[in-house]
Structures are given as C-alpha cells and as structure tokens.
C-alpha cells in the first residue's frame, strides 16, 4: 500500500491581476522525500511558497499537508510544517535563544519542553555555543542555520525552504544542503527545497522544474540530466532564461 503523501498540491493556480503566476501546478511528496523545486527567478516559486504557508489563500486548486486541507484546517496544516523563507525573519536585536523561544511560543511550546527543544536543535545545527549571541552579530550562514533550527523546533513533518542559501558562499551552501538532505534521510522529514542553483541538487533527488508558473518536469535529477549536465538541461528546457540557474 502506498503511503499517503505528506504534501499534496493539486491544480494550483494563482494570478497577480492579469498576470498568471501559477497555472495547474500539481505534485505529491511522499513522507521522507527530498524534492528540489528548480526554477529561474520569477518562475513562481515564492508565490507557491506563499500559498503553501497560507500567506495567500488558495483561489484555485487544493493543498494538503499531512492530510490536512490548508484551506479548511489551516492551523492543523501549519502545525505540521516548518518554513524557511527566502528573506531572513530573525529579530536582529534578540539573541539566538530568544528568537527560538519566540517561535516556540507561537507554536504553544513553553517551559522546560521549549528549553529542551532549543538545546536539541542548536546541537543538531552545531550552534549551541552561539545561543546567547544577538542575531544581528551572526554571519549569513549562521543566520540560515538558526532559521533552519527554528523551523525544526516544533518537530514538523514537512520542511519548506525557499531559496534558503541565497547570498551564501559555496562552502556554506554545501554544508546546509548536506544537512537538509540528512534530515530527510535520517528523520523522515519531507523536504521541498526551492532553488535556482543547480549545484544544490543531487542526482537522486526528486526534481520539479517550475517555469513561468508551470511544472515542466517531474523526475529525478539523474533522469532529467542523464549525463550530469543539469544546468544545460535546465537551460534547454526553460529556453535559456536569462536569470536561470547557475
């Protein structure tokens, strides 16, 4: 028997006025899957994330997270989801621990349980020594680690990352992608990793290519580019979009 999808997107459409941003987007992610959502800038990735996190309501189609319909049961769906946005959302004036504690409180977690979880996620991301530093004093890579730690604080089953490595150097990006792959493999967390950087996608990763609001390919990275030329295959498919992948 096939397991119910952790994330199910069906017939999703969205427009900004007359401009169509998403059109007929549909895919399912199995529990524990790592899926790269590859698309050039302006492909509709952030719009898709805004719909999946209910910053926008879903005008067309349906989104289910761990079996919860996002439109009908938004709180139940959001409770199972961890999100790392493209834009940093840490409070720069608060310490790392206070940032995490604030997020924990928004998920109804307090007291010793909160402290235990904060220690655990900081350990997991090798950030415990920096727990009392103010967020503004961290470098870009460490800020991203804290944001990933924060997104894991409430034990989500689905982790959404929207261009989580943007602006980071290659080594830091490599560290973060390796860690997130391990989360999916070792802890069974379903990961949707939106990026426009082809070097962040591993051959065995499930790959969705989004371009001009449509899913153009749904396969593995190895299946999409059998000879390992992922960037070239991507540019061929998207017509060499000028802001395409690196």
């Amino acid at each position: 028997m096939t397991a119910a999808p952790a994330l199910s997107i069906q017939g999703l459409g969205f427009s900004y006025g007359a401009k169509r941003a998403l059109d007929g987007v549909a895919f399912n992610l199995a529990p524990g899957a790592f899926c790269a959502l590859l698309g050039p800038n302006g492909a509709g990735k952030s719009t898709l994330f805004s719909l999946m996190t209910r910053l926008f309501t879903t005008p067309e189609g349906r989104i289910e997270v761990m079996g919860h319909d996002l439109s009908r049961a938004p709180n139940a769906a959001l409770a199972t989801m961890g999100v790392v946005f493209q834009q940093t959302t840490l409070d720069p004036d608060l310490s790392v621990r206070r940032n995490l504690a604030y997020f924990a409180a928004l998920h109804g977690i307090a007291g010793r349980d909160r402290d235990r979880r904060i220690d655990a996620v900081l350990d997991r991301l090798a950030m415990r020594a920096r727990g009392n530093e103010r967020a503004r004093d961290l470098n870009g890579g460490h800020k991203r680690r804290v944001e990933i730690a924060r997104a894991l604080l409430h034990d989500p089953r689905v982790l959404l990352l929207d261009e989580a490595t943007v602006g980071l150097d290659a080594a830091t990006r490599g560290d973060i992608t390796t860690h997130v792959h391990a989360l999916a493999a070792e802890q069974g967390i379903t990961v949707l990793w939106a990026t426009h950087l082809t070097d962040e996608v591993l051959p065995d990763d499930r790959l969705l290519v989004l371009h001009q609001g449509r899913i153009l390919a749904d396969t593995t990275a190895a299946g999409f580019a059998p000879h390992g030329q992922l960037r070239e295959a991507f540019l061929d498919l998207t017509g060499g979009a000028p802001h395409a992948a690196i």
Binding site: A21, F56, T57, N75, A79, Q87, T89, D93
Partner: protein, 268 residues
Amino acid sequence: MLPFDPRAARIALVAIVTREALRFVHQRERFLAALVRPLVWLVVFAAGFRAALGLSIIPPYQTYITYETYIVPGLCGMILLFNGMQSSLSLVYDRETGAMRLLLTSPLPRWWLLTCKILASTLISMLQALVFLAIAAAFGVRVSWTGYIAVLPALLVAGLMLGGLGLALSSLIKQLENFAGVMNFVIFPMFFLSSALYPLWKMAESSQVLYAICASNPFTYAVELIRFALYGQFNPLALAVTIGTAVAFMGLALRGYDPARGLIRRKG
C-alpha cells in the same frame, strides 16, 4: 481546524507582549521621545496659552481649572495616538523584514495573533501614559488616587482603539517611506481636530464646521473617556464610541490581514 487551544494562545500572547516590551526597552530614545513630546506641550505650550484661553466650568470639572490641567488627558491621548502609529510603523517594518511572515504562518487564528499585537502595543502605551501622569503630577497637575486607578481601563480601551487604527493602517501602507503621509493625514488631523487641546464649545465659537468635525472624531471620545475617568467619572457615550470604533478598526485590520485580500500580496 485545530480547536482554539487556550494554553497555546496564552503562551503566544505572553511571547508577543514580551517581544514588544524588549523591543521597547532596546529603543530608549523611543521612550524618551514619547515622553518629551507631551511634556513640551504641557510645560511650554500650555504656559503660553494659559492666559489666552479662558476655560469655563465644564464636566467633569467642578471648578475653574488651569489650562495645563485641561490638556493633560489630551496629552495622554496623544501618547496613545503616537504609540499606536509607532506600532503601525513597526508592523510595516516587520513586514519588510519578514518577521510578520513568521507570525502569520504560526498555527493560531490570525485574529488572535493580531489581537496580541494590539494588546502588546497598548500595554506599552499605558505604561508611557502613566509615567507621563506621574511627571505631570510633579508639575502640579494631580488627580486623586481613585482617578489614577479609574483611568487604567479608559487608557486600555482608548489604546486598543488607536492600536486597532495603527494595525489597520499598517495593512494599507506598502512601504516605510509612505509613513510620513500617515503623520500628515492621520495623526495631526486626529489630534488637532479633537477636544485634546481645547474644549469643543471653544471650537463651536470659532467655526461650526470644525466643531462638527471635532464632535465626530473618535479621538475626541477617547480623550473624554480618559478625562472623565481621571476625575472618577464615567462617560457612557465616550465609552460606547471608543469601543465601537475599536471594533471597527479591528475589523478593518483583520480584513487588511486576510490572506484572501492579502496585505502580503506582493509579487513573490
């Protein structure tokens, strides 16, 4: 939908209030500015106008009062008004920095999250107003102890109304740069076209049109609610208008933050 979990809601409320309080503590200049502004009015403006403005006996006062005494409730209202707008500015900043996304994607009802934000900003406003009242007492404008206690719920209701206004405005302001317009088109008209600085009968002597505008300004009723409360009296009309306006502003804010209408509906 998950049932509304009172424990989770309480934890979130405490966290949001604490965060706003910490932010306030980190911004000492904001606290000083919030106090200096009404103190300048009390010490400088009121001294200058004391002789020019004659005040007859009007409720809740039972005798002739100094102009300083008259404007203290209005200056409390000014603190709440500016702080409400300050919280609006901070919400726009939160939106630009992405912090608002974090709040709105948490698994609690959006109306509760927004109520927590308003309540947090109101509690900080109340604290500033109480400090101002203490300083005003040092300058000779004192009320009875019962007045200081009775004014607390009045400050709360008025603060919620102006916090609601700030929240509603923050859903309309797209960028921080547009905030100057709010100063010119919301704060100043709301403050000057009210009973904060002069009684409405004075305004009626000058212009019936301006009097009608002042009499229909909800800020006038918030100020009168505070004024009556400071003297241990209850003004039911002021309370009804202030609560009604608070509910209306809150409704507008909820509408502005409705994901279907989308304050965050920006190009993604």
